[in-house]
Symmetry: C3
Subunit: 334 residues, 3 copies
Amino acid sequence: MKLCELAQRLALSWEGSADLEVHRLASLRNAGPGDLSFAVSAQHKQALIDTHATAVLVPPALADSAPCPTLICDSPYLAYASASWVLHPDPALVKPGIAATASVHADARVHESAAIGEFAVIDREAVVEAHAVIGAHCTVGAESRVGAHTALMPHVVVAHGCVLGEHCRVQSGAVIGSEGFGFAPSANGWQAIHQIGGVRVGSRVHIGANTTIDRGAMDDTEIADGVILDNQIQIAHNVKIGKNTAIAGCVGIAGSTVVGSSCQIGGACNIVGHLKITDGVVLNAASTITQSITEPGRYGSAVPLMPVSRWRRAYIAFSQLDGLMKRVRKLEQK
Amino acid sequence: MKLCELAQRLALSWEGSADLEVHRLASLRNAGPGDLSFAVSAQHKQALIDTHATAVLVPPALADSAPCPTLICDSPYLAYASASWVLHPDPALVKPGIAATASVHADARVHESAAIGEFAVIDREAVVEAHAVIGAHCTVGAESRVGAHTALMPHVVVAHGCVLGEHCRVQSGAVIGSEGFGFAPSANGWQAIHQIGGVRVGSRVHIGANTTIDRGAMDDTEIADGVILDNQIQIAHNVKIGKNTAIAGCVGIAGSTVVGSSCQIGGACNIVGHLKITDGVVLNAASTITQSITEPGRYGSAVPLMPVSRWRRAYIAFSQLDGLMKRVRKLEQK
Amino acid sequence: MKLCELAQRLALSWEGSADLEVHRLASLRNAGPGDLSFAVSAQHKQALIDTHATAVLVPPALADSAPCPTLICDSPYLAYASASWVLHPDPALVKPGIAATASVHADARVHESAAIGEFAVIDREAVVEAHAVIGAHCTVGAESRVGAHTALMPHVVVAHGCVLGEHCRVQSGAVIGSEGFGFAPSANGWQAIHQIGGVRVGSRVHIGANTTIDRGAMDDTEIADGVILDNQIQIAHNVKIGKNTAIAGCVGIAGSTVVGSSCQIGGACNIVGHLKITDGVVLNAASTITQSITEPGRYGSAVPLMPVSRWRRAYIAFSQLDGLMKRVRKLEQK
């Protein structure tokens, strides 16, 4: 693709010869002829000077440091994100049509521009909207709906009665609409509570590989527009996640907790049930959240890693912390 | 369903007009005409007074506060659990028979009342008992057995030589009988140990979405009757879980650990290998367990979440805890 | 199998009647006639004396304590690992050939000695090498490659453009090559970054059930030869794991982190992104790693489990740690 054409597609101005062609993205260090790269800030200045890229995305302040034609942009990282889709074809965009081996229920409705992969199952009264892509081995349950331009990678399960909006992307192994962990104690052990709610996923939602989202117990579990969920996340029944919140891998959110919009939850955080996390909360990785958070801001709870000999002593000290508080109080009283 | 009929099915007495019909469950606040709701305790009294439900499940003490007919029960939550299955059909209960696209080995045995879903694979000498349901894309390995009335949701893997009891329910993406993490160090790296045990799952066991249960190294991994496992749990080889123990999401239990009966393990707990957790232990969410627990009771290890500026200081203080102990001892000696 | 034949296969010397036959492995305590068992150290001496095994693998020092014929070996545990494959047939080793229900693209290349299971999908220009086994319901994406003697258990997803070396073993539910968590913030929310790298997995790599390995953002994610990954691990984009490193279950490693060779990472550890962990690092279970580790050795960060009444006081004390430090300083100044 000619640089001038790419600039037009990204709505950017350029400097240098716009007739050069770029074919793929590469980092400043690895780029060679035909590659487009990007420099975000002054931190990358030396790498920019040394790059062999054919062209680079740069902020205005770095334009003069580039040894090659440049596309000028306020946010080179965002421009790189856009360019990645222009230069590299989306592997999920396959030919419309239903694979010969797929099983589509007579009462399902699949748009003619949608693509249904091999061995996929589209159940009774399920709806697959325009340009949606259902990967190989996916299951779309009865009365569920996959919105326009939404792509399910191979091996995704959407259970019955769940809704996904438009332009979502769901990675392999994700399960949407599993039956949550609702049980009543009885004299004969745990009595399961039938989970009769569904899952409602908004538009432009990313759901990572092997992430699970339970259906609601009575009302729906809800994931708002623009939420991005990494891999191996567990969202329990009746959780609500607000608009544009980002959640990193291995996070668990227990039942009925409400997470606000524009939050950023670090990897491996664990949030217990029935809490309310307000908008704009940022949680450091591996935090444990046992109480509602009413103020936006950044929070953490992880303890430091230590060489094991020191850690053993800290471990013992921690188990005596309570006594230590008392001893200091006694010393102060003297 | 008429209220009197429901009362009969749940073995409850009622007050008010028993000819009214209820069709579905709803919470006190969301309920409208045709809805059955429930109030558990005095905490729900005002919502009960205000409800528009057609009928409610209530304890005797709350019967007079209801503005509608009541079903009187000692445990409304348990009655609600039972009612959920009566009022809402179980989506897993599909028509008996083998889907045309399923692959059932000539030497497998599938009961005529069982249902085998699309593209399911039932391997050599596998047994599927009466009224069992095998969802789409499931695999039941050679010489494995799925007990009567057990339901596997779509995309469950039961490897070879594993046994599931009766009335179990296994959510999508669960893997039962994967090869555990057994390796011997050698001069050429890690030498895998062939995992020749199986998995034995009792009856009335719930296994959550994307939960993994490894087969035993030599003997079997064992999950007793009535155990309920949430999503994304990892059970390593030769673990044993006792009767009616409940384990919340994202828990990991390492090899050969034995968990007693009637335990409750909070979400994201991590239990190292070769431990023994006695009966009746309750673990707070996100606890780390590195030693055996010999006394029943509740335990925890999580540290508090703090705004990041305070957390940074606590983090540093924690890394100096050992020294702090010594300094206090010195002060005391003066 | 006759003991002498087994000894030959394992290149071990023996004592006692080598004409006896052993058929399977069992622990010292459970072993009976026809069983081979093993004793690793003096710790097992009494169990060895009491065993009913037909033969045992023992170190020279324990040979005289065995009540049965022995195979003498420097490392009985390693010999047991080897014997496990000799005595018990590998269930993954199925007959070569392509299942009638599998879907193999016309432009894929499957070696005639490879086995492709039921409903497996081998996509365009994918390559499956000699003696590789692709389980039921697996997907091997376009232009991906599965090396010789590598076995994928049922329900494994290998996305497009990924490479697995030889003699690997991948457990059910694993996803290799999912699109990682790369997004640029924009005025309209998160803009996805197309993940154009792949995953390169070396030889003799074990990948556990429901483990996920994201493809690289631009360059590849890399898992070196001999790495063993347990279940439910999350490896983010552009992570590199060095040779023979072992990672236990439920670990999360965030983007671009580089883990050295011969490391041992305990279960449920969480490693944030862009770190460098040097060779030979051992991490205790449930550690949180937020900074690079430059020195080999053992590290930990877990806090002790306590009965909940004591834990509550420690929890409060922890949240006052910073103040406590100051108070002690003040006392010292007096």
